[in-house]
Amino acid sequence: MRPILIAGLLLGLIAQASIAHDPTINRLLASHCAQCHGTDGYAVGDMDSLAGESAKDLREDLRDMRREDQPENIMDHQAIGYTEEQIARIARFYASLPDDRDDLHENDFEDPEEDEEDEEDDDHDH
């Protein structure tokens, strides 16, 4: 019985992974923001926190920076270093975290469901 159950779960997981991506890879990508924006995006001092922001806002902000004709500030340049797909993954990771660090359970994050409205708002300009 048990192997069959496991196989079923595994198939389910693979199916799910192909749609949703491996959330630990989103986390790895997002972790490179932490040197400036704090571990898990909970910043100290005047730096912007990223945890708990909406995926859509983060994505739009990063895409705007990435598409600056004349990148000026440090974040415009950082954003250029990522693909649009990577930006979407980073945004999804931070959106999955609570606003308040005290509510965070590190390995308990869920990959938030892909937001329909999120996808629709994408500008497919290239």
Binding site: C36, I74, Q78, I80, G81, E110
Partner: protein
């Protein structure tokens, strides 16, 4: 430890991959990882192994000092704007916050066959995997006595020695500094140092700063530093490219280079650099640095040994920000490997990135910045520069941003 959803899922996946044998309920011994060096690379990897790996990874961190003293911002010790204590981070916080076992000692040997690290006090630490992150060591310079001619390139007593020497400057004095041949720790760092030395000399009533660069040109933020050298410090600073250091007279304060002999009142020699000695003595280097696979930071020469930060030999800049970025890739890879999950599958390879940022004080209240992104080139297996950006000159806002950046970097690594 409570089994949360993701661990359940990972257990299932692992069982599935291992021929559908369920692993749930089978107690797995934690993977023992020993980390050598509690600097930006080592502290980051220890923290993230525990943060992401939970109790699956047992982490022991070895460093000779109970506190790590950051090189980042340490040029501001020379201007008396910061003290060493402002840049000292107790490694014990990694224990209280994340359960990293911190051992005070110097790793003197790494037995890759017996899988043991030997410490200077005779202690042996067994490991399943070891991460080696001891920073840099200096190459020999004939005649150099660092107790008289400081490098101030590993923050600590050497930084204080240089500061005390600079405190004694009077009008008309000469300061000499030498810049090592690339690659060295912190590409813009020596030029930032040159600016602040010139600022010190000007404040002491004027004099000369002689900058002897082993490289053919300024190695980072070239436009910014060329401008700063001429516009801000033109009266004081003389820059000599392609000046290879040959020898030093540490008592007479003379420096011998391929461009001739120079003598000064204070001499700051930053020697050429190579991987930390424990890396070099353990068969992990190929030339000055340790070759690694940047998908995991595992040594190209020894299985199960990982090299991070300034000691590793990829083309990525040797910076603290970068060291921490590499540490995250490595922690993720070790956790995957220890759980029997793949590290080199397409989805992960497509998303192997690192980044770097450096702020450089150009004066006592203005700074410039530099940022770079790297991505894995799947064709060559090397990291490729995907974008580089720099500030247009220097300003006060960047100087303020520098402290916010550094505070977050310090917190991400040491707290």
């Amino acid at each position: 430890m409570t089994i949360n959803r993701r661990q359940f899922v990972q257990g299932t996946l692992l069982g599935g991959l291992a021929g559908l044998v369920p692993v749930i309920g089978r107690a797995q011994a934690a993977e023992r990882v020993v980390v050598i060096g509690g600097g930006f690379a080592g502290a980051s990897v220890a923290k993230y192994l525990r943060l992401w790996g939970d109790d699956r990874i047992d982490v022991t961190l070895v460093d000779p000092n109970p506190n790590h003293v950051s090189c980042v911002l340490s040029n501001l010790i020379l201007t008396r704007q910061l003290e060493l204590s402002d840049l000292s981070f107790p490694l014990s916080e990694l224990d209280s916050a994340y359960g990293v076992r911190v051992v005070q000692g110097t790793a003197v040997g790494l037995d890759t066959a017996a899988r043991q690290v030997q410490l200077d006090n005779g202690q042996q630490l067994g490991f399943d995997r070891a991460v080696v992150a001891p920073g840099i060591s200096f190459m020999d310079v004939p005649g150099l006595d660092s107790a008289k001619v400081p490098h101030a390139w590993i923050a600590g007593s050497s930084t204080l020695l240089l500061r005390n020497q600079l405190d004694g400057l009077t009008a008309g004095n000469t300061v000499i500094m030498t810049i090592p041949a690339a690659p060295y720790r912190c590409p813009p760092g020596p030029y930032e140092r040159a600016c602040l030395l010139a600022d010190n000399v000007q404040r002491a009533g004027g004099g000369r700063v002689i900058v002897l660069d082993a490289n053919d040109h300024i190695q980072a933020e070239r436009e910014t530093f060329e401008r700063a050298f001429s516009e801000l410090y033109g009266d004081t600073l003389e820059y000599y490219p392609a000046a290879q250091l040959e020898a030093v007279d540490s008592d007479g304060l003379r420096v011998f280079t391929s461009q001739g002999e120079f003598s000064g009142d204070v001499v700051n020699v930053i020697p050429n650099q190579q991987a930390g000695s424990v890396v070099r003595n353990s068969g992990l280097t190929d030339g000055r640095w340790a070759p690694v696979d940047p998908v995991t930071y595992e040594s190209a020469l020894q299985e199960g040994i990982y090299i991070l930060g300034d000691s590793q030999g990829t083309s990525q800049p040797k910076s603290a920000h970068m060291a921490s970025s590499q540490a995250k890739v490595c922690a993720d890879a070790i956790i995957r490997a220890a759980s029997g999950m793949p590290t080199h599958h397409t989805e992960r390879l497509e998303n192997i990135t690192t980044n770097s940022a450096c702020y450089s004080p150009i004066t006592r209240d203005q700074a410039s910045w530099l940022t770079a992104n790297f991505a894995l080139d799947q064709g060559t297996g090397n990291m490729r520069l995907s974008h580089i950006g720099a500030s247009d000159g220097w300003d006060r806002e960047s100087y303020r941003d520098m402290f916010d950046w550094a505070d977050n970097l310090f917190a991400d690594v040491f707290r």
